[in-house]
């Protein structure tokens, strides 16, 4: 049974047993949680239901967040998409609008699934649901791939961190993209090795990304970083499915993320003291928001 200290160990176990990664994770969870496979799958299906509802609600909403600094981006993109004003094609547009939708629901105090965190909650659902539709994959297969995503996420949390306060945005939106990339590769039939390469490449793409939320709120730049994180996952998955490999092994990439996070200044780790949060515009917005509380 995997101890979730290494993605490579998960992959090797899958290869040795000639099973997908999700089976290895699922079997491990049966032991750890004292639940049956069916119970675990049922619980994950319920979790996906919350994700779907958030995507739906966010796409149809123009509500502003209570701070007033975000809201309506998913709706705007959807309208532009329908009017043919965008250039990335159906898959990219769907991916982006869904990631924005979930993230905006989160900002508006709606119900979401932290994946791995609330700040990065749009990426996994956007990637899996969009590709499920495009490739006509069953919901059951999607739900199973969420165990792959979770297995990758646990290793990242164990070896590095998934908290912006500890590792910056690379640890939140980077981890979410790495989880989504590996999971979507497996969902469409990629090999365990491809899962590892996709995970590695998605994380590599955003090494060093700082966590600099304006006024300390999970809105700017978090919501748009969810859209970009979803696109990052798709890029990495596409490369991996084509057979392109990450030269740096996945576990070493995760370790690099941890060490980059450790050497990041605290002003760039969710304290709202650096990066975008320190810009004049952000400072002005923050003063306005703090004044609301007086």
């Amino acid at each position: 049974m995997s101890n979730y200290k290494s993605v490579q160990v998960l992959i090797d176990e899958a290869l040795a047993k000639e099973e997908p990664v999700f089976q290895i994770v699922l079997a491990g969870q049966v032991q750890e949680q004292a639940l049956s496979k069916e119970e675990l799958i049922a619980k994950m299906t319920e979790t996906y239901g919350v994700m779907e509802a958030a995507m739906h609600n966010g796409l149809n909403s123009q509500t502003k967040s209570s701070s007033g600094i975000s809201g309506g981006a998913a709706y705007t993109l959807n309208q532009a998409h329908k009017a043919g004003k965008t250039i990335g094609g159906d898959v990219l547009d769907k991916l982006l609008m869904r990631a924005l939708a979930v993230s905006e629901v989160n900002a508006c105090m709606g119900k979401i699934v932290a994946a791995p965190t609330a700040g990065s909650c749009g990426i996994v659902p956007a990637v899996l649901s969009t590709i499920k539709e495009e490739q006509e994959i069953s919901q059951e297969q999607l739900v199973l791939s969420m165990f792959t995503a979770a297995g990758l996420g646990i290793v990242i949390a164990n070896r590095a961190t998934v908290s912006g306060a500890e590792g910056g945005c690379q640890a939140e939106c980077g981890s979410a993209a790495a989880m989504a990339a590996g999971a979507v590769v497996e969902m469409v039939g990629g090999t365990p090795r491809m899962v590892g390469h996709a995970c590695a490449m998605a994380l590599k793409n955003v090494l060093g990304l700082v966590c600099d939320p304006v006024a300390g709120l999970v809105e700017i730049p978090c919501i748009k970083r969810n859209a970009i994180g979803a696109a990052n996952a798709l890029v990495a998955a596409n490369l991996a499915l084509a057979g392109v490999e990450s030269v740096i092994p996945v576990d070493e990439v995760i370790d690099a993320m941890r060490s980059v996070g450790n050497s990041m200044a605290s002003a760039l780790k969710e304290t709202a003291e650096g990066g975008l949060a320190a810009t004049p515009t952000a400072q002005a917005l923050a003063s306005k928001i703090y004044a609301m509380q007086e």
């Binding site: 119900k111 979401i112 699934v113 995503a149 979770a150 809105e219």
Partner: protein, 219 residues
């Protein structure tokens, strides 16, 4: 850490620490009071104080005091629900010494006039740490099923409680005992592997040195 820790929890946004954790602080305070809250004074420190409106920390704590769970969309409207249920609340911004950035002191009074004060922090990912209950310094994380027993510091009090738990085949994972002074107010914080049903909670409450029993479910 299991799969539902990393794809989960299902929660009301926007922040696991500033919203979900804050709901839990309110829930635990309400559980300790053991009756509907009619008055609450909530002091916020650090990042809680600076960003509570944008993160909905205020709605979250009041929601918790009303018994609304972390994944319940009514959190968004908890202020209105509080008004309709006769819960009066007041928020104050404070600066505490040596406190975690996300700390709140919640003082509540119930219908019977009973009151409870809790100092707790939201330490990340929806996890919390209660540092003070009334005047007693404690450490409660609520990651396990947790029994909080308020009792009078007397010989045999701990034995009476643990004996009853043993007879009900409840395994204690961790336990700590705190007291204000010898023979004074005391508290046991007991983390168990099994769930504690209401009947057992009542039995514990009937033990002689025990004044109050609260059972907190894990996240």
């Amino acid at each position: 850490m299991n799969v539902f820790d990393v794809i989960g929890p299902v929660m009301i946004g926007p922040s696991s620490s500033h919203t979900a954790g804050a709901v839990r602080l309110g829930l635990i305070t309400q559980a300790l009071l053991g009756e509907p809250v009619i008055d609450a004074v909530i002091e916020l420190h650090g990042s809680f104080a600076r960003t509570y409106r944008g993160h909905g920390t205020d709605k979250a704590i009041v929601g918790g005091l009303l018994g609304i769970e972390t994944d319940d969309e009514r959190i968004r409207n908890s202020m209105d629900i509080a008004s309709s249920q006769g819960l009066f609340y007041r928020f104050e911004v404070v600066e505490l010494k040596d406190a975690h950035p996300n700390t709140a002191i919640i003082e509540v009074t119930g219908q019977s006039g009973k009151s409870v004060s809790v100092l707790g922090s939201s330490v990340g990912g929806g996890n919390i740490l209660i540092r003070r209950i009334n005047h007693l310094g404690v450490e409660v994380t609520a990651q396990y099923e947790t029994i909080i027993v308020a009792h009078t510091d007397t010989p045999g009090a701990v034995a009476a409680v643990t004996d009853l738990l043993a007879k009900q085949l409840i395994n204690i994972a961790q336990m700590k005992v705190y007291r204000s002074n010898r023979g004074g107010e005391a508290m046991m914080v007991i983390e168990t592997d099994q769930t504690i049903d209401p009947a057992l909670s009542i039995l514990l409450g009937e033990l002689l040195p025990v004044r109050n029993v609260t059972v907190i479910e894990p996240i």
